[in-house]
Symmetry: D2
Subunit: 494 residues, 4 copies
């Protein structure tokens, strides 16, 4: 394990410049994250998270740094890992470890277990580290809150408890064995030590956890699945489905970061070109709007007739990929499904077509299938940009090897967008930490109450110069809502 | 009572041209209502509504004519009234009464009790008429289904039942009496006859009703209120909140009919002007997009911070009316609230500012308050367009006296949009009529299952040349949905 | 000849209501024509057109009424005819004839020779009437200025002079004769009387004319052709090619009036549909933007590769009509060419496709060819809207019989747009009337100096709340322009 | 002098990877430059530039590499320098020097005198080098064509000739001397050697030059100024004002590269923000569209009332900077003027406002004035991104130190846009080289004939899938143009 001390668990930051550069970027990002800064203002004195020990597993970026320092300003203790082996911005990690008032030699920050380019093995070691809280006497206390993105931290705890119930961790498998999965083996390796040692390490740890707040669709799916099987161990708040998360992060974040990623990767003119967008959910809506805003002609594919009708009514051609595959210059997947762009499609594309994914996993584009085409060759144009030459002599440009291109080819969502998502996280942490002990959140998966969703929006209006209108008491009564909200029924779609 | 025979209950159509003109328009509208035509195709043989006696209360327009003939094609018997004293298109009513194969002298159509410009008294008589079904022996049977828009037909039945329970209808009040309400008196007048006569006329009638399908927000509110008080007498389907109704009718319908109404009313250039839109719900979103599409600069006001943030992210200025009242050329209300534009605002507007409402009731603009300004005068420029001259000498143009300007100054939503709404109505009628007898819809208020919402969308794709993509079984399993839908969780926001 | 007295040449207005209604509309239009009102303000006292006798031939609409009263406010005497047999708005004509301070019985207005629905014969009689000025002694003086739209007034004078040179007007032809043209015969009939009578009536009249200002492309073409053949009799200003005319009238005027015309004609939803626009000049650009603004998908055809490239870069599909004729729902011609949409295209269109022209003449759509298809039938849905049923059983909707649909199905360009065009007209009249006598405009065709074009723009900014930035003397020098303009080289394209 | 050999004048490329990387990028760029590739196809065999010796002074980028190899494919010999000390992409220079078929050790390419980060002294030495052609006997022949961008190569020749006429180069001045200008001193230093040595070196060289083709506004201004003073020595073609250059490069190029530059520099969300754009010429139009396409609200300032009116009609607020300086988040200059954003403006901006220039020179923003504010401090966030902290404690972000941000913070215009500009260059070179010797281009400044402008557009349509419509002979005659163009009068504005 590299880059952090075992004992204090601190990011080993000896490079003054790295931490300083990170601090600089954090300062600029704070200006773009008015939601988090307003929460610091509101709760900085009352410190509702005092006593909270938050184990965080979420991309260790500059924006996350502002989140972390918001949590600590609200009184929390925090330990942090990234939820992706590539997504850490080292300068942000360094600055967080050093802390706003510390120095590289005398850090006062937060234990950070993350660096850009971890191995799978390192990744799961890091994830375990965020669980190893000890009190002043060196006794393991563990976290009492989890802040998760994708559910890996939550998974580790649940598997640990399960294996302790089972009495043991499954025997190791090796490459070639049936059912072998490299990542699962790493998880087992990490768990084996603790499960074997104590027998109730994870069970005790889980008992101390008041709840988890989860950032994304994937993690949320896992939580609902656990809840359905009645295996969920503590309450969870689904932050992903707050309006101010899903409608903003997905639509407006993508509108920004999709063309940014394409431009940095290819420098190819978007205007006048034909862009194929697979999927017209919130991500697809943002993608289509971004392409149109640059003067491209957009063709959308959809499986859901309602979203398809929306695409048509918004002025986009709706077609099957097969029918237009030879017309488009850009192919972008936003579906969250798999094998959406397949080798037979790629073989029919125009020379130098650009292919990228901004949906979820890298299997939206069947990269493996592409690699399996006989005679195909691949060359790196620059990092995260590969030219695949097909047997026909034509070639296509694949971005980020099929992984999220806005993260791989650009810098992901901008701070302002993340301020919405992360303000939901902070509010959700406060909700669970302050109310779960009083039984207000029995084990289950919850969405944030609409009034808090509205609060997150409210915190971002000033920064945009948007001035809200106030309902009079008579008007509020007329439409049957409180003057201060919530203003809409639960099923309202925005 | 004029214009229809008491005995056969038929619209008295002696004007051949009127019915012919209506038939012509119906034929053209059918082409723009692919959802309804597809339902005729699908269910024309099996006739799932055979045996249904539908009492319809909904604007008697050309589009409604296509709806009515769809219901009869599916086997239903129908009686119809309009739900608004002004909204009947007489040629549509005439054509429906004559029927597709009848003649004015030998009509074969549907009993229609509606004409443009009814009195309040006539309106409630007409509403009562749609309830007066008789069997071959002349015995009153009443309807077994209601199709409602705004809830007046449902209201009549519920009040009738209540007064029969009470034993009598309240004594008449007269103008000047405390609590006097002209409309309520008309309702009482109509009910008094039947309640007094039989004592259980409405109760029996209500017992025969399998359910109601309701078109709009207002009617839906009434239904939920009845359900909450446990006074609802039969199941209801809330058609209004189908995605293919609320998101399409409200957003895309308004995008079309708002500029249409303004243009027909004023012939004033929209481009380059400043348009103030109160509210950024679905209606406001459609309005803002329409103005932008014509080159106007849009300023939005909102009370809901989430919608306000959406407006800002969509590139619109968000401001309070007070702060921009002297800048805008057009003022449009879309809120569903009241007293949104008030006299103090109007007094501060630019000379010749145009004011209109496309939200809900005519009290969104405080017309009464405007009329009460000392020294204000009003002149009709043309029907539904009035110039109000203020004491300052400046004047403003008020559209449709503050009522819905797309109906008053243009022809409302186009057929294609209504095809979505009405396909939901037909499907909801089938649902209730075929399933309520088997206990599948205990008394309560329901939304259509998402799979049927998706079906409505599906029926409209071909007409737009939109081609849907099919999920493979593997892909469907991957995201955990059936291959044929529904594709989204209930809380999905589109 | 009807509707005006021969002697005073006044529009016979006995219908008080008509003139009053017109006056009302004129008052509202003045508010939307800030360019003309500013010229009244600037020149109302100095009266630079005192002594001008302007013969005007231009659509006699409400907007033209504001133009006429601006000319008279600047000191001119005016006689007016329309330049199109259908385009007169009778209430505007009546109001102008009555005059702002006159009464129907005691009119004080301007001699107007125009009514809606003239015959060809009446049309040319009216055109001759605007030339018959007489002094107090009854001697014919004729006009000293022409304000023309399409060049008919100018044509009459030039033909008169030519025939006087020739010694006679050509012998009449009759239907069936080779070379027979109904309109030409009417012109000859009108000229024959005067040419035969005096022999130098038109020659003297032409000698008195200082110049003509011409509104449109067609008229401008005629003028350049005359100048090239050295047959032009007096200087001409090409108003059509002022930026504030061509770029505004064509692009922004069409953006407004195209959807207005379609909506009033068909009530068909535009959103989600496919619109084919033939031509991507200024008119096509406005049309495409209007369709996109309503959520339609636009396909453009072009013969000019530069305009085609612009269309592509603006995000529109560029295709040949043949290749997409079965996809579009709307077909709009904007080319100024002929036979753009031909019978073979119409036969291949979707059922109920809508066809309209907003370019120039009614031959852009080959209506004659359409009528010649064997088995085709036609029925009027409402005025200016016809359904043509094809042998296949499919039908198409043709707007305004192929004539300009924004005029035929709606009310043409809105006042604000015409204020730009007409302010150019007024300024051009002042230029010629005040400078031509001093030899500043030798016979030839001129465009307005850019500084005056800029002036017209300047007059319209306040009304839109647009605030201009001032160049400092140093900045003006830096880019080599005067502080007060003109700011651009002649070839600048805007 | 570094990086190239004196003798062969070749870029010293010993770094195989550099040249290979450049070749790779050239290959991809060729795909995006269909105009140049089509010219290779068309003229590759006939080699119309055989015998041409082209001295090129234009940014030595990947796109320019494709231009250079197009010129050599058409038969020309070429020597190249950059026209900006920072703009060379070293890998492109290396690849061009090596040549498509050469190797670093055995280069077969073109003499390139350019590298990223030249000193001013090196820059003018490089510019002189492109003039030093020698025949096989070592006799100086010089170029017979110049391809210029900004006019530095042309300036050098003209100054050389003038000083030879004067008999000497002005005496050197030194920093502090009145009239001292560092760049002028470098030019004089370069000229002094040759002028003093031969007395007619530049005069003979100029006599051999058939003409120059000039890329940009600045160079064109210089040429018109020389022509006006009758000092122009050879004919010039103004490539800048081809429609396919000015309307495409300026509008569509900026639409792409402005947000690209902002995103790479700042990662700040554009959506929902307020962007101030100074100037609404073609560059401003592209900038405003780009911001709107990302969901920003745009405020435009203009001095030209026509452009201001266009901005308003396009839906943008038009205001003076002073009135909105405290509202905007982004400030972008596009004017081509100077001191547009001044210290008093910057002092009034919001905290963390972003300021950038995409117009022309770095004095559009008064950086010197900003630096002179007492107490102001500046820190580099990253290369080309500086945070200036003001005495108020607020800070602003300045991009590229006020120089063109699309070049400084991103990679300039994409290849497809440059393919338009450069196709004009190649065609202009052919025009002058083949026709000037026959007297078809007497000394003066010309624009390319419209038919060639149309040709350039035509060459780019296929790549966008745009299919042109053909005029029939009858249609062409009807509108009075040749079937194959040109299609528009000279003053047409597109």
């Amino acid at each position: 394990m590299k880059n952090f001390d075992e004992a204090p668990g601190r990011y080993k930051v000896r490079d003054l410049n790295l931490a300083e550069a990170g601090r600089h970027q954090i300062r600029l990002a704070e200006h773009e994250m008015p939601g988090l800064m307003a929460l610091r203002e509101e709760y900085g004195d009352s410190k509702p998270l005092a006593g909270a020990r938050i184990a965080g597993s979420l991309h260790m970026t500059v924006q996350t740094a502002v989140l972390i320092e918001t949590l600590t300003t609200l009184g929390a203790q925090v330990r942090w890992a990234s939820c992706n082996i590539f997504s850490t911005q080292d300068e942000a990690a360094a600055a967080i470890a050093v802390g706003p008032t510390g120095t590289p030699d005398n850090p006062s920050g937060v234990p950070v277990f993350a660096w850009k380019g971890e191995t799978l093995s390192e990744y799961w070691d890091c994830t375990e580290q965020i669980m190893t809280w000890r009190d002043d006497h060196g006794h393991l206390t563990g976290p009492n809150m989890i802040l998760d993105d994708g559910g890996d931290a939550t998974l580790l705890v649940h598997l640990g408890v399960q294996y302790e119930k089972d009495g043991s961790v499954p025997e190791p498998l090796f490459p070639g064995d049936a059912g072998y999965n490299a990542e699962k083996e790493e998880i087992h390796r990490v768990l084996r030590a603790s499960v074997d040692k104590s027998g109730n390490h994870w069970t005790e740890l889980a008992n101390n956890i008041l709840g988890v707040t989860e950032e994304t669709t994937t993690g949320v799916h896992r939580l609902y699945a656990l809840a359905e099987k009645e295996e969920l161990l503590f309450p969870a708040i689904n932050v992903n489905d707050s309006v101010t998360k899903s409608k903003f992060d997905n639509k407006y974040g993508i509108r920004h970061s999709l063309p940014d990623g394409i431009n940095r990767a290819t420098d190819i003119l978007i205007g006048g070109k034909v862009a194929f967008v697979a999927g017209y959910g919130d991500v697809g809506k943002g993608a289509a709007e971004a392409f149109r805003g640059q003067g491209a002609r957009v063709i959308v594919s959809e499986v859901d007739p309602i979203c398809a009708l929306q695409a048509a009514m918004d002025g986009f051609q709706v077609a099957q990929l097969e029918d237009v595959v030879d017309q488009a210059d850009f192919f972008i997947t936003t579906t969250g499904n798999f094998n959406v762009i397949r080798p037979e499609h790629v073989l029919a594309m125009k020379d130098k077509a650009v292919i990228g994914n901004i949906g979820h996993f890298d299997n939206e584009i069947d990269i493996a299938g592409l690699a399996a085409i006989e005679g195909v060759t691949q060359v790196e144009i620059k990092p995260q940009v590969h030219e695949w030459t097909l047997p026909s002599g034509r070639s296509v440009i694949v971005l980020s090897e099929g992984r999220l291109l806005n993260l791989g080819n650009a810098t992901g969502h901008p701070s302002f967008v993340m301020s919405n998502s992360f303000a939901n996280q902070v509010i959700a942490q406060i909700e669970l930490f302050t109310k779960a002990p009083h039984g207000e959140y029995p084990t289950g998966v919850y969405r944030l109450p609409k009034i808090l969703d509205e609060k997150v929006a409210r915190l971002h209006l000033d920064a945009l110069g948007a001035k809200l209108t106030q309902l009079s008491p008579e008007q509020a009564e007329y439409i049957g809502v409180p003057v201060s909200g919530p203003y809409k029924p639960e099923h309202y779609r925005y």
